[in-house]
Symmetry: C2
Subunit: 232 residues, 2 copies
């Protein structure tokens, strides 16, 4: 958590000029933040971010021209410790999820009380991530749901359960891209034995070749599952 020795600097990006003015006034009059720049264009906003290096950006994510989410992503890629708070007119779970996924430090509805916006900025300036309670609940419903669907498909009937311990070892090595010789070497068994195991695996998983076996394994919760991959 860093301390701001100076007044924190804020950049406002909102294609609605009226709302932009309103927020600027609010911040100027009722907070201890400095608005260093404002713009109604996401593209210009990204350039302003590079130029002014603000501490916080308030980014409208419901803009027609350029997607606000995409703009957030580009700003995050700059890796300049600029903290973006998403401003949106919608408490849509998918929107909230995507915004938080790509690195937004907060998500505030435009309809919320101005005090809440200031509070969010305070929290974010202090290094925290802020989501209003109601939106947090929405987020988690969406979040948990994405895992529930997964369980269903894998619960139907997971052919992986029919594999023996040794077959699982072999499959694990298959999912790492090993060929017969390599697997034989790592398990200290002969290549023909590996072939036997692999053939048994094919039978049990009802596939025709190793690529299909690997795909089946990865899509049905077999070990080596990597983190995430939740499409934006």
């Amino acid at each position: 958590m860093r301390e701001f020795k100076r007044r924190a600097r804020v950049l406002l990006i909102d294609d609605n000029a009226d709302h932009l003015r309103g927020v600027k006034e609010l911040i100027t009059l009722e907070s201890s933040y400095d608005v260093v720049a404002t713009t109604t264009s996401a593209n210009i906003g990204i350039n302003l971010a590079k130029k002014y290096r603000p501490d916080i950006i308030l980014m409208d994510i419901n803009m027609p021209e350029k997607d606000g989410l995409q703009a957030i992503q580009e700003i995050e890629k700059l890796d300049m410790d600029i903290r973006v708070i998403a401003l949106s007119g919608y408490d849509d779970a998918d929107l909230i999820f995507r915004a938080m996924k790509i690195g937004a430090k907060g998500y505030v509805l435009k309809t919320m009380a101005s005090a809440q916006l200031i509070y969010a900025m305070d929290e974010v300036a202090a290094g925290k991530i802020y989501l209003p309670t109601a939106l947090t609940s929405r987020f988690f419903e969406y979040f948990q749901n994405s895992f529930k669907e997964e369980e269903k498909t894998s619960a139907e009937e997971n052919l992986l359960t029919y594999l023996t311990a040794r077959e699982e070892e072999v499959l694990d090595l298959l999912t790492q891209g090993n060929n017969y010789k390599s697997i034989a070497g790592k398990l200290f068994i002969s290549e023909t034995t590996v072939k036997t195991h692999v053939n048994n695996i094919f039978q049990k998983l009802q596939v025709n070749d190793r690529t299909q076996a690997v795909l089946y394994a990865l899509n049905n919760g077999f070990a080596n599952r990597r983190l995430s991959k939740i499409a934006v």
Copy 2:
């Protein structure tokens, strides 16, 4: 959001008998919930859940005997609309993340004020998901970090960018488990042409065979990315 026409029923599971008594007293005296049963064993707790069908379970997740998280998972699998709130002594980001992932409707620290526990129960009883603000912030740091690491690896240098449009088509079919003949049929080109493309793909991705190519593709953000896969 459902309404409770009767007083909501609560099951308490906590291996610490003292804490168990304390929470029971708190709920009995200072809330409008009925404690239908208590136990210090996760396994017994699961059976009690089936028997009493409580509306809410307060589950200690720091138990030695059986992992509380595992117990939550088993209860969720029952699919009986029993809402579990995780009780923990630690505000560990990983613990919070895992609890919420498997379906906990709330996560409350044992050190928190008793009013906060009652509030969490009220929210959860009302169909919402509740996480204290401080823990929400922790959760999101962890959540966003899991995506950041991903970007790094894929940002280093993604060999997939060197593929031509046609090669991407071929790779896409490879990641679906097709062999040469099948790909040739689907793209209306000869099998030898497919071989040429596949060989070029191997060169560009610096791999030796199709399985490795498929693994590279899946691990580096190539289309077909499925939802989730965040290991518990």
